[in-house]
């Protein structure tokens, strides 16, 4: 076939294939070998050049290509081959034409939509082959654009507490501790194992719920547990009949805590803008001082923990890190307080007297302390920082001290007199609450596509399985029209069914799925929260209040409507008012007549037409055409005509006989 020749005419040069590397393994990415550049081929040999007796391309293809493997017997192109070639090229030309049209339409769409950058991208793709999303928007059908903003969050009263108030993580965020404690249940119902005097539970260990949530793995959790419960036997893994009702083994609680960690690591602190109708002014404000105060308290706690071990660690030989066997326990105790900050304490079981692990842990914690202290100093010294910047920096500080994924939840203070939309929606919901299974189905449906909701779904599943179910509460922040006035809420669950004939609220809607710690009334006080996930849903066509209210047009398309469009080309009447004021003075002092007014206007038009003839278009003649002349010594000085002479010329019936309109 003739394709070797075609490749030589218009090769498509892609990135060069790299040299063979015998050490390289299987590679799933390699550049394509050179192929034919169809656009270039058509540029050189357009479709119009393919007709005729002996077209140039046919001559070219009949010539032998430069290929060492082809001997001298290269036959001329047969008629059958030529038909194949021309058919392929005509098809390519049609494809190219269609593609050009589509890209032009795409650029017009984005241009009229106000998206100049995407319009430019489409034009660049058309003109120069630039990259472009192959999923052209112009081919799509746009449906009516009502949206529903979803937020999934945990809202926690500012005064809530959990298992511990003194452990570092609980100190850093008592609200998060309260949230984890509610999810995990009572520590007295989590059995660690048998001790010398009977069952030992996490209540005996004095751990915080967040210690369980942020435990790295089972081994590190067991180390912490044994440090807190020295007489602990085997770690409990199964429920024993003798346990109290509802008790679960610590390993099961650890599995549930793993789900909570996934939620916390993927969530963000709840901010005031999420607690109001979209676009409405916030009704809460972030308490900076409280947030920075907690950061300082956390650092104080870390400093105190470092002080406990400072002297002991300093006494360790920095070269050998070896201590006497009798000192091993003292070193272990000296660094043990750091475990509560997430510092890994992993002794070497083969060489128990090697304290490199302890010295390394202490030094690492000390470096964390120095870094976090510098951050806090910077935060306090810059009053120009915004709330968001302070929050981001505080979260970074907490992660520096306590490890990645630890969210720091700011307390949101209720703004006095600003309204209590969230509390109102919680205490007086305008719609009937859906059954728990429907809410669960909503969570499970969205867990398949939203990562944050997936973590919540797992926590819900494990929580129910371990006898610690947590209810989720749908809340809707919007306004509905009641007798012409806007009333908070709406009378149906907007994430549920959408019956025919019911209008969508005219105001923006925020749908919140809340895990609420505390009573609904407490939401009007200071709160904190964890934003687990958020997204905006584009809804199927929803009629507005005027589309289905009284007096609305009865249309069979009401319920399944999509808006299409016709473009009608209709020449618009293009006459416009003149943008000059004609001040006419009767030449001979006589009164104006209709005829003389029309004559003056026409004369002005004629003067205007003549004015358009400029020096450049008509050198010489134009010098005497009407225009504005100014006497100006600083403009380009030149010899000019004395137009006062024109007053003495008899112009006759035609104003300017030397000016002729050209159609």
């Amino acid at each position: 076939m003739r394709w070797p020749s075609v490749r030589q005419i218009a090769p498509l040069s892609t990135e060069e294939v790299g040299p063979e590397d015998p050490a390289a393994g299987p590679a799933a990415r390699m550049a394509a070998a050179d192929v034919v550049d169809g656009a270039e081929l058509l540029r050189r040999y357009p479709v119009s050049s393919l007709d005729g007796a002996n077209p140039a391309l046919r001559q070219r293809l009949s010539a032998p290509p430069q290929n060492a493997y082809i001997d001298g017997t290269w036959a001329a192109v047969t008629n059958a081959e030529w038909t194949v070639v021309t058919t392929a090229l005509r098809g390519a030309a049609e494809t190219l034409d269609a593609l050009s049209d589509a890209l032009l339409a795409e650029s017009v769409l984005h241009y009229v939509s106000g998206n100049a950058s995407r319009a430019a991208a489409a034009m660049d793709a058309s003109g120069g082959g630039g990259p472009l999303d192959p999923d052209l928007d112009v081919l799509g059908v746009r449906q009516a654009g009502r949206t529903l903003t979803h937020n999934v969050a945990a809202v926690i009263g500012a005064q809530a507490t959990g298992w511990s108030t003194t452990r570092p993580r609980a100190l850093a965020d008592p609200r998060l501790e309260a949230w984890a404690a509610r999810r995990l249940g009572s520590p007295a119902d989590i059995v660690a194992g048998e001790g010398p005097d009977g069952l030992l539970t996490l209540a005996d260990a004095g751990l915080a719920a967040l210690d369980l949530v942020f435990a790295d793995d089972l081994a590190s959790f067991e180390r912490d547990l044994r440090a807190a419960l020295p007489g602990l036997g085997d770690l409990a893994t199964d429920v024993a009949p003798s346990w109290p009702d509802g008790a679960i083994p610590a390993t099961t609680a650890l599995a549930l805590a793993g789900s909570l960690r996934a939620i916390a690591a993927g969530a963000r602190p709840l901010t005031p803008d999420r607690l109001v109708i979209p676009g409405a002014p916030p009704q809460h404000v972030l308490d900076r001082e409280e947030l920075l105060g907690r950061c300082a308290a956390l650092l104080d706690a870390l400093e105190a923990a470092l002080q406990v071990g400072a002297a002991t660690v300093a006494a360790i030989d920095p070269l050998s890190h070896a201590v006497a066997e009798s000192e091993v326990e003292a070193v272990r105790a000296a660094v043990q307080p750091l475990a509560a900050f997430g510092v890994a304490l992993v002794p070497d079981p083969q060489v128990p007297t090697d304290m490199a692990w302890a010295a390394g842990a202490w030094e690492g914690a000390s470096a964390r302390f120095a870094s976090a202290t510098a951050m806090l100093t910077g935060l306090r010294s810059d009053p120009a920082l915004t709330d968001d910047q302070v929050l981001d920096a505080a979260v970074t500080l907490a992660e520096t001290v306590l490890g990645d994924g630890f969210p720091l939840l700011p307390v949101l203070r209720q703004v006095e007199g600003a309204g209590t939309d969230l509390a109102d929606a919680l205490t007086e919901p305008a719609f009937e609450q859906p059954a728990p299974a429907r809410v669960a189905a909503f969570v499970r449906d969205h867990a398949s596509v939203h990562r944050g909701v997936a973590t919540l779904a797992e926590a819900q599943l494990l929580g129910r399985a371990t006898g610690r179910p947590v209810a989720l509460l749908p809340v809707q922040l919007t306004l509905r029209e009641t007798d012409g006035t806007a009333t908070p809420g709406t009378d149906r669950w907007l994430a549920g069914e959408l019956p025919d004939g019911l209008p969508w609220p005219a105001h923006p809607v925020r749908h919140l799925l809340l895990e609420l710690l505390g009573t609904p009334e407490q939401a009007s006080d200071d709160i904190a929260g964890l934003l687990i996930d958020s997204w905006v849903e584009m809804l199927p066509y929803q009629p507005g209040p005027r589309a289905v209210g009284e007096g609305s047009a009865d249309t069979p398309l009401r319920e399944a409507r999509a808006t299409t469009g016709l473009a009608v080309h209709a020449h618009q009447a293009s006459a416009r008012a003149p943008q000059v004021i004609l001040s006419a003075v009767s030449a001979d002092g006589s009164r104006w007549t209709t005829e003389s007014v029309i004559g003056a206007v026409r004369s002005a038009i004629t003067v205007a037409k003549a004015r358009l003839v400029t020096y450049e278009n008509l050198p010489g003649d134009a010098a005497v055409l009407p225009a504005t002349y100014v006497a100006s010594p600083w403009l380009q000085a030149r010899t000019g005509l004395d137009f006062s002479e024109l007053a003495h010329i008899d112009w006759g019936a035609v104003a300017y006989p030397f000016v002729t309109e050209v159609d």
Binding site: A31, V112, Q143, S448, E537, V568, H569
Partner: protein, 619 residues
């Protein structure tokens, strides 16, 4: 007056009068009158687009020049009346072979979404994932509890216990007669497998015995009413709950089976209209996110019978009169010459080279014809062929003009055509979702050609683990290097028939099923397993099978043209959309994308390897 020299006025020959006038004029010395000139002397268009101003005569002249002073015998259009007809969708059919004559038509259910029916691949849905089975079971439990059947719900976990799918390559139970070394090797395999999917055992530890297996319940319910329904306090209510749960779990029972894995595309047909006005369109190359008119092909003269249960599909005719709205868009140039432009308009900043035709066309549209267009919103029926019957314009004088449709065979958008290019009258609005939310891929397969090995590969990049979570197969540990044969000295070489290939690279071998037509058929490499003592271990010599659903059919033969040089990336994504009635529907479907070029597997045969080659094979 002074004598000026050498100034000479040039006059045109055709204007004798001008010559006479000039003769009578006298010259004056500076400071003379200087004429204000707004015109460009360089020929640059920029001064013109800047719309400089000068004296009133100039302003008036420019208005005349731009046509603003011309009265026309035309009124301004004030209203547009559009009458249209919609032929609603009445049936659909998956097209296995693409042949419409063999299509099994299914009635269109009101409110259904085309994507949920077409894209759904049931095998990818619930699957064997522990998480999905547990979630499904827990949902049924909660629904039964809401219905007051708590006792029935509590018993389900015992009837349908959750368990992880068995893994023949990593057996957890002790094997009778195994040696300590074999046991250690087996446990290492189990540990390695669990490390790839740590969630599986964590979930099972908590959920086992407390949550029922939803997949097992669904399988039993599909075969008939389960026996435990009789134990309900209200069997009818429990039965209704079970039916609602199945609807939630699996969606429309008629969905799926439009996916052709060998062609890597969805194939389906839609039937619109009643018995008198049937319209059939089919899609045979669909693999994108949402169905568009451009995915469809009109099948003229096809008139399949309406399936049982289908709606009548009577045409919906509407007439609407709307105010005529001139086309307006952000940064639209003003339609008058001297008018303050929108702040975003900067005509002087436009740059276009003569060969940049697209840009020139766009500029011309904006500058010259943008204000001669009316935009008329026309309500259409989603899920119908919407045909505009008449369009009439009424202007300020009360005149009504009926306008026809532009027919340009060289340019047609939004028109579904038949294979020969004839356009179906009207606009097809497929019954698609307003928004489809997608999650992370549950399966990803990359199809690439490997010219050096003279075959293609299907590379399983992501599969669903036993926990139900996606996991990358590239994380799987590579097998240990083969032991050096006991009888060989280190200076000798060992013969290997074939180099090792990662287990998630599935070979596609070229076969010629028809003369001159290349196809790529799924093959299998043979697993090599050495026992700790150097002998062949369990599983040695077995075929390496794909793990995922996508490549599981056998035989599986891809036509050669379906795997081009740039390759194909196939992703199975969970999707969620909302029907018009507000119900959410979920499904898992494929998206087809472009691959990443060619592959290099380093597959080689007949190698004599040194001890170094054997100990350190290519990574």
């Amino acid at each position: 007056m002074a004598t000026i020299d050498p100034i000479r006025i040039t006059t045109s020959k055709v204007s004798a009068e001008l010559a006479q006038i000039v003769d009578r004029l006298q010259f004056r010395e500076p400071p003379a009158m200087v004429r204000l000139e707004p015109d460009s002397v360089t020929g640059e268009p920029a001064p013109g687009t800047e719309a400089r101003i000068a004296d009133p005569a100039w302003l008036l002249g420019r208005q005349w020049q731009l046509g603003e002073l011309f009265g026309e015998d035309a009124g301004t259009v004030v209203s547009v009346t559009v009458s249209s007809r919609a032929l609603p969708v009445t049936a659909w059919a998956p097209l296995g072979t693409g042949d419409l004559a063999e299509a099994q038509w299914r009635p269109w259910q009101p409110g259904a979404l085309l994507e949920e029916l077409v894209q759904d691949v049931p095998a990818l849905g619930l699957g064997a994932g522990l998480r999905q089975r547990a979630e499904a079971g827990a949902q049924l439990v909660e629904m039964l509890e809401d219905a007051g059947e708590s006792a029935l719900a509590a018993a389900l976990a015992g009837r349908y216990p959750l368990a992880l799918a068995p893994d023949p390559l990593a057996i957890e139970e002790p094997v009778p007669g195994e040696t300590p070394a074999e046991r250690e090797a087996r446990e290492a395999q189990v540990a390695a497998r669990d490390a790839l999917d740590p969630a599986a055992k964590r979930l099972l530890a908590v959920l086992g015995g407390t949550v029922p297996d939803g997949a097992a319940i669904a399988a039993e319910a599909a075969a008939g009413a389960p026996s435990w329904l009789a134990e309900a306090s209200d069997s009818a209510t429990a039965g209704a709950v079970l039916a609602a749960w199945r609807q939630w779990l699996t969606g429309d029972t008629g969905s799926g089976y439009a996916w052709d894995v060998e062609r890597m595309e969805y194939r389906f047909a839609l039937r619109f209209g009643d018995e008198q006005h049937p319209v059939v369109a089919r899609a045979t190359q669909f693999g994108a996110a949402t169905v568009r008119w451009s995915d469809l092909e009109w099948v003229p003269n096809a008139s399949p019978e309406l399936p049982e249960g289908a709606a009548a599909g009577a045409p919906v005719t509407t007439t609407a009169t709307m105010l005529a709205t001139p086309l307006r868009y952000p940064a639209m140039p003003a339609d008058r010459y001297w008018q303050l432009e929108d702040g975003r308009v900067d005509l002087g900043a436009m740059e276009a080279q003569p060969h940049d035709l697209a840009r020139l066309c766009l500029i011309e549209f904006a500058m010259t014809t943008g204000d001669d267009w009316l935009q008329v919103p026309v309500d259409g029926l989603l899920g119908a062929v919407n045909q505009v019957l008449t369009v009439s314009l009424t202007d300020t004088f009360g005149d009504t003009t009926e306008v026809g449709e532009l027919t340009d065979p060289a340019f047609a958008m939004y028109r579904v055509t038949d294979p020969r290019g004839a356009a179906l009258p009207g606009v097809v609005l497929p019954p698609v979702a307003a928004d489809i939310q997608t999650g992370s891929a549950v399966e990803e397969v990359l199809f690439l050609r490997d010219e050096m090995a003279n075959l293609a590969w299907a590379i399983e990049q992501t599969v669903t683990a036993r926990s139900g979570d996606p996991r990358p197969r590239s994380d799987e540990p590579r097998p240990a290097a083969d032991p050096w044969p006991a009888g060989l000295t280190p200076t000798e070489r060992v013969y290997r028939l074939q180099s090792r290939i990662p287990e998630h690279w599935i070979p596609l071998l070229p076969v010629a099923l028809r003369t001159g037509q290349l196809s790529l058929r799924k093959g299998a490499l043979i697993r090599t397993v050495f026992a700790p003592d150097g002998s062949r271990g369990p599983g040695d010599g077995e075929e390496i099978a794909p793990v995922g659903v996508t490549l599981s059919p056998r035989p599986l033969t891809f036509p050669g043209e379906e795997i081009p040089r740039e390759g194909v990336a196939l992703r199975a994504l969970p999707m969620l959309a909302r029907r018009a009635d507000g119900r959410y529907v979920r499904w898992v479907g494929y998206r087809v994308g472009t691959g990443s070029g060619e592959a290099s597997s380093r597959l080689a045969w007949d190698a004599a390897l040194s001890i170094t080659d054997l100990a350190h094979p290519p990574a």
